[in-house]
Structure formats: structure tokens, C-alpha cells
């Protein structure tokens, strides 16, 4: 049931580490060891190079699109310890901010839900996670969580801005009081959940199940049910689905999705969180779905060429 609908020849000169579709599925951003970030228009199965962004001095590990209400904004992070935020102004892409507050490679960037404002979380090999918040007029405020993970942090993923249980209990007319949370995965084999309390970030939960470095975490979008779900994948070849049934976020229980034969690099959820995409060193990208009786089944299998497949992202492809 799965078929390749488009192959984009990016002309990157080296390994591609990440590829992300924008909010509408009309643009694709790719980043590579060749230090560049490229943006393509991929509507109607085509590929038009819109921009070739240079600014990093090392392999670029991840890219992330911000919500369109803030404009066309893309964040990228690299081995060169920098996080660069690019913005499209008057049809051209330019660097709008550069953050150099990390002492080591920055491995992951993730934008917070748009309801919180324009906030970017960055995870680095120096073990710290920094949160960059846009305060207006080109200014960014930085909050740092030092020693989030010993040895290094490999992935960050924000929780959706939904008050758990809101599908069942209708929230009052005024804006709900969001509790900002995000998950991180690190070289200490742990997945940690962070919560903001009185302007400070605190470690709320420690999820232990992996026996090797956690490579990616992905917090599933919420449809308002009381359950929260996180997917994590690791060097140990395992993918776990963590669920928390109560609204206070206290008891997380893992379910093993599958044990793969090689390192699993990335996990990513569909918009309505009913499908999880997994990619790994076994050269495969697989799609998984939860059946009505709570078991996860693989609904597809896409084998892709030589070398490892290192990033998977889900968006919505539109015929335009």
C-alpha cells in the first residue's frame, strides 16, 4: 500500500542527515555533511531549488520548520556548535540569528507549539539543552538546562499544546493554562521529560528502558484524549512507545514496538498520531500503526538504496 511518489535529487555532496517537509507539505528542507541546507519546492511531484543556505562550518544534523504564522522560518543545527535561524524576507532566505552558546555539536532542534510563541529547543553533545525564545525586534532570550543528559543530548521533542483530557471536558472560554513540556533523549540511555514551573525548567520524569544511546524521541500529537504518547528509538535497535494515562503525567509505561537488527535513527508521527514512521541502519523505513486491540503492526516497508537511512519526517503532501 505504500509507494514512492517522488524522488528529489538534492545534489548534496555528502551524506544527508535530515529532510523535513514544511507545514503544508509544499516545501522540503534538507541538510547534509556538506555543510549546506537546501530548500526545495516539491509541489506536484516536482523539485525546484529555492535556496542553498551556507553558514555552517560542519555537518548539519537537523532542520526544523517553524509555524507559518511566524513567517517562513527554518532552524538548523550543526557539528560546528551553532544553531542558525533562517528567515525568508522579500523572497530571499537569510540568516536572521545565530546561537553559539554550546560547547559541542548541537544535535537536535525542535520548535515549540505555536501557542507558546516562537521558542526553539536545542540539544547538544555538551549535555545541555538550550531554549531560545523570540522576544521581538530580532531579539532572542536564552534559557539553558545544563547537564540535561550526561555525555550528550541527541534529541528534543515538544509536547503538543493541548490540555490533556480536553476532548472529554470542554475547557472554559478563556485561554487554557498550558504547562510547557518537552522530551529529550541522550547518551545516558534515558528519555527525560522536562516541565516548566514558575519560569524554570525542571526534570519531571526519567524514562528508562533503552540499553544504549537514545537517538530520537518524538512526542505524538494529541487528539485531546487523556493519554500522552512518546516514541523513542535507540542505538540498541529498539523502539519503545511510552504512554501515560493520567493527566498529571506521572506514570509512563513502555511498550516495545519492535527490536530492529540495527541502530534506529529516527521516529516520527503523522499529524493525527495514528501512524509512526521509523528509519534505521537496516536501510529500511517502516510505518507502524496501532490496531484496535492495542498492538502495533507494521503496515509497510520501503527499502531505500545503499547506505543507511538516517531521518524520517512526516508531513502532508498536497497536489497543487
Amino acid at each position: 500500500m505504500v509507494s514512492v511518489i517522488n524522488t528529489v535529487d538534492t545534489s548534496h555532496e555528502d551524506m544527508i542527515h535530515d529532510a523535513q517537509m514544511d507545514y503544508y507539505g509544499t516545501r522540503l528542507a534538507t541538510c547534509s555533511s556538506d555543510r549546506s541546507v537546501k530548500i526545495f519546492d516539491v509541489r506536484n511531484g516536482g523539485q525546484i531549488l529555492i535556496a542553498d543556505l551556507r553558514g555552517h562550518e560542519g555537518p548539519v544534523w537537523q532542520v526544523a520548520w517553524a509555524h507559518p504564522m511566524y513567517g517562513n522560518i527554518l532552524a538548523s543545527c550543526s557539528y560546528d556548535r551553532k544553531v542558525i535561524i533562517w528567515k525568508e524576507e522579500n523572497g530571499t532566505w537569510e540568516k536572521t540569528y545565530e546561537y553559539t552558546g554550546h560547547d559541542s555539536s548541537v544535535n537536535s532542534v525542535c520548535w515549540a507549539p505555536h501557542d507558546y510563541g516562537l521558542i526553539l529547543a536545542c540539544g547538544s553533545s555538551d549535555g545541555a539543552i538550550s531554549l531560545l525564545s523570540y522576544t521581538g525586534d530580532g531579539q532572542w532570550e536564552v534559557k539553558k538546562i545544563s547537564n540535561a543528559h550526561t555525555i550528550g543530548c541527541n534529541a528534543v521533542s515538544w509536547a503538543p499544546a493541548v490540555v490533556p483530557g480536553s476532548l472529554i471536558e470542554q475547557p472554559s472560554g478563556q485561554k487554557p493554562n498550558y504547562i510547557k513540556r518537552f522530551a529529550s533523549g541522550g547518551c545516558d540511555n534515558l528519555v527525560k521529560i522536562w516541565k516548566e514551573e514558575d519560569g524554570q525548567w525542571k526534570e519531571e520524569q526519567k524514562l528508562e528502558a533503552h540499553s544504549d544511546w537514545v537517538r530520537d524521541v518524538a512526542w505524538a500529537p494529541s487528539i485531546g484524549l487523556p493519554t500522552s504518547t512518546i516514541a523513542s528509538c535507540s542505538q540498541d535497535g529498539r523502539v519503545f512507545i511510552w504512554t501515560c494515562d493520567d493527566a498529571s503525567g506521572n506514570s509512563w509505561s513502555p511498550k516495545l514496538l519492535h527490536k530492529f537488527t540495527d541502530v534506529v535513527w529516527h521516529v516520527s508521527w503523522s499529524i493525527t498520531a495514528n501512524i509512526l514512521a521509523v528509519s534505521g541502519g537496516d536501510n529500511k523505513v517502516t510505518l507502524w500503526k496501532e490496531s484496535v486491540d492495542g498492538l502495533w503492526a507494521c503496515i509497510s516497508d520501503v527499502n531505500k538504496g545503499q547506505g543507511g537511512v538516517s531521518a524520517v519526517t512526516e508531513g502532508q503532501q498536497n497536489e497543487q
Partner: protein
Amino acid sequence: MASSLCRASPSPVDSVCITSAFSHTDFHQFCPSTGRIYQCKNTCKALVDNSCRPKTRTALPKHGLFMLGRLVQVSKNYRSVIRACMEDMHQAAVSARDPALHSQYSTQVSILSAMELIWNLCEILFVEAAVAGPLLLRLLDWVRLHVCDVDNMVREVLSSENPSKHELFWNVVDVFVLQGRMDEARHLLSKEASANPTSVNMCRILDDLMKKMPVPSLGNTQTLTEMELKWQHWHEECQRYLQDGTFASNSHMESICKILLGDENAILEKKELMTTWYHFLVTRLLYSHPTVKPMELRFYAQSSMDLFLGGESSPEPLDTILMAAFEFEMHQVIKECSIALSNWWFVAHLTDLLDHCKLLQSHNLYFGSNMREFLLLEYASGLFSHYSLWQLGVDYFDHCPEYGRVYLELHIERIPLNTEQKALKVLRICEQRQMHEQVRSICKIMAMKALRNNRLGSALSWSIRAKDAAFATLISDRFLKDYCEKGCFSDLDLIDNLGPSMLLSDRLTFLGKYREFHRLYGEKRFSEAAKLLLMLMTAHIAPCSFWMTLLTDALPLLEQKEVIFSAEQTYELMRCLEDLTAGKSDKQKFQDDDVETMKVEMLRLALARNLARVIVKEGTLEGS
């Protein structure tokens, strides 16, 4: 609905693969002509309205029958849509020059044909089940409609000059007998009789047997027992003729008699004419158990398939689906169809129909009626990746009581808003459903887009709609900045007609009022303009940074021949000016260039002069 989901997966070389899950055979591929797309869309829409309305669970018997009739009609509508698509597809296949395209369309035609076959059977067995009426007749109709491989042969023989001399003549007679088309069989027999005097007797007898064959009738003119009795008698009569060797000299007629007697082997011999095991099943039932009841079908279905395939070939997906239907395993039918078809349309609509017939609940599966919603959500999600069918998806989500709304909220924000029209369409949908978050989000996106393209007026109206005070302030500042630079306002219409939305942000209020000041001045309503100008400063509506500009705007009013500002107003103005200059630090005063200092001097002078004039004026008695 080319894809409900797609992934970008990079490879170490240089290419990125965008893959799609559930690559639906695009529904609009079924109907290549655009006219048909809309017809299908409208039929679907009508059917959605018709069939997806949440039904009340308490159905009285009379009401139930009425509902049932409606549901059968709905089912028939679905089938006619499928048939219409098949027609179009067939036309497309015929006119396709490219062989690859031709074969693609032909495949689609066969898929659609299979879909209609399955749907028809489900309609007979499940939807019409409660309707009194002989199952067998409906099954016979079903077979006649769908086994068309023999139609050409039939046409050929019938249209030939001397049908009875045609080499395929007996084949056609057999076909009619196998399909229970007695009148047509008898008609051909009469031709044989007139052409072949030696077989007149046999023909007459066979004709008679065929005429007398008891068939379950549509109207309830006979009871089951009566029917069975009659049938028994007739069966025995046929038996006697066969055993007497009446047809011994004509192997064709003898085999027909055996068929009439329900002899399995005789029927099986005509495999090629039946082409499918389910035809065999129905023929078998016709001649051995004509009063078969729905629940008894399962016993005959499996054995029919086994006998027919005879271990030579294994059942195909279509066979498995039909078998599940004969066995009344509805969930199995849905499951098998989901696997076999790469298209959620079929299972989603069929399940919805069955759910409305209250059939799915009778099965003891714990997800019960959620199966309907589950499939509808899948189908509708797929529609959202299509540039125009997403609107249909909205309707489907509306009819999913549990998760429909939240799925809609998540999907509707992802529709690319290339044009203002599309954005307005999406907004209307969100507003109708009180999806305020989505409305705000979309308005903010449009405002940002407009701002990026320097369309300040559009950006302002979008941010007003989004009730986004911060953005409105930002844009108002831009307007004011533009005014300071160019000396005029753009988008006057918008600013003039702000109305109560002016109150959204202080800066916006100022912008509106400031424009009003200009208008008053333009209309030469100087004293009103003066009052407004002053109020803008004293009520602190104007930002401090703008005071200098306002005071400069006051200059022409001060210099008028007629005195406009009253004494009190003049004092106020002076106070404002002093506040402004006092507020500056010494350093700032030093940095002020000559123009600035001159402006302040001019203002002081003008104010003083005005004060002088107004004191005199106010001090003078009227008429003296």
C-alpha cells in the same frame, strides 16, 4: 487523495525519496472526465448526508421498514455511482492510445467491477435481508448481471439466421438454463423443434417441464410448504422422463434434464459457461434447494467453491471476500476488502451502510460501531491531501461523532492557503464549527504573509480578524512610520472604516483617530480637529514618540487667521511641549540637530502668539 501521508527519507547519496502510504487509487482516477468528478463528489455528498446522519437507536418496526427501504435505495445509489465510474473508465481505456495507460484503465475497470459485484452481494445478503422475498431470485439476478462473459456468444447465436444450426446453439440454451432463464430457453427450443422434426417430441416435453418448473415467487401467493410440495412433484416428473430414456437420443437435452434435476456432475460439466464458482453455487441452489434461506447459504458456498475449483486453482482475494459474505461474516468481508483494495472508499462506505442497518452491532466485537468511524476517519484523512476534495473530507469528519472534530482541527490547518479565496473558504468552515483556535491561527498566518508582501492594509485586516493585538500594534506602527516617511497614508479605506475593531490595540486606536484628525482637517472642521489632536496627547492615546509629529501637525492650526485653540487648550499644548522637551536628557538635547531645535522654537513662538490672540478674543465682550 493521492496520499494521506508522505515521508521524506534521505539517503547517503544525494537523493531524497518522498514516499506515500496508502497511495489511494485516486478517486478522480476512476472518473477521468472532470464532469464525473463533480458528479461523484455530489453523489458522495448526497450519500454522506443521506447515510451518515446519526440515526436514533430506537426504531419501531414500521419505521424500521421505511428506513430499510431508504437504506436499500442508498445502496443502489452507491452501486450506480460505481457503475458510472466504470463506464467512464471504460471509455477512457478504449480511447487511450498509450498501451500502458490503456492497461491501467482496464485494470481499474476490473477493480470497479469487482467492487460492484461485492457490494451487490452485500446488499442482497445484508441490507435486504429483512425484506421478505425469495433469496434465490435475487441471487439469480445478481449472477445474470455480473457473469457477462457469455453475452457475446448469446448475441451471436440469437442474431444468426438459423440459430438452431449454429454450432454454439446448445451452449446458449445451456447458459439460459443454468441462469434460470426459462422463457428464453424455451424460445430457443421452439426454434430447434421447428428446424428439426425428429426432436419435436422431446422438445415439447422439455418445454413443458421448463414451463411447469416451480419458482419461488415474489408475491406471497404460496406458502413455503406449498412451494416445496409442488417442487417435489415436478422433480419426480423430471426424474421419470430421464429414467424412461425420453431424451436418450439427444445428449444435449438429456444433460439439460439432468441439470433440471440438480445433478451436480451435469452442472459441473458446463463449467466454462458458468465461469465462476458462485454462478455454480446459485445454479446448484436453483435446482436442488430453491427455497434456500440466507443462513443456509454457508453450507453450500464452501462446497460449491471446492467442487468448482476442484483443487486446480486456489481461491483469489475476490473469492475469499465473497465466501465471507456468503458465510455472513461481515467483519471478515470488511477486513478482506481492506486488504485487497488499496482504496478506503469502498470499505468506509460499505461499513457505514452496514452500521446504519444496525448489523455491525450484532457482532460481538468490542470496537463495535467504532469500526465505522475508524474507517471513515481513514478515508477522510486521505481526502485532505487533494487540492479540492478536502472539502468533502470536512463533511465526512462532521459525521464522525467521536474524533471527527479533532481530526478536522488537525487537518484543516495544514491546507495550503495559496489564495485569499481559499483562506476565506477554510475560515468559513472553521467559523461555522466554532473552531476559534484554528480561525486565529489561519488569520495570523495570512496577516504574516500579507506583511511579508508589504500589503499593510491586508495584513491589518487579517490581524483584526485574528484579534491579534500584538500584530495589529506592529502593523499600525508600520503605517505610522510610512506616514512619517511619505507624508500620506496607504489603505485609507480600511483605516477610515475600522469602527469598533479600532479598540483592539492602543496603537491601532491611535492610528484610527489620527487619520480621523487628518480627515477633519481636510474637511476644514478645524475646531473639532484641534480638540481631537489635543485629546490624543492628553489622553495618552498617542505614543510619546509621536508627540513631536502631532505638535508639528498643530502648527498650521495655530497659524490660521482665525483663532482655533482656546486659551485652555493652548496652555495644554504648551504643557505637552514642555513635557516633551523636559523629558529629554541634556545629552539628547545636545544631539538634537538644528532642525529639531528650530521646530521647538517655532512651536513655542506659535503657541505664544496664539495665546496672545486668544486671550484678547476671549476677553472681548460680544458686540462691544
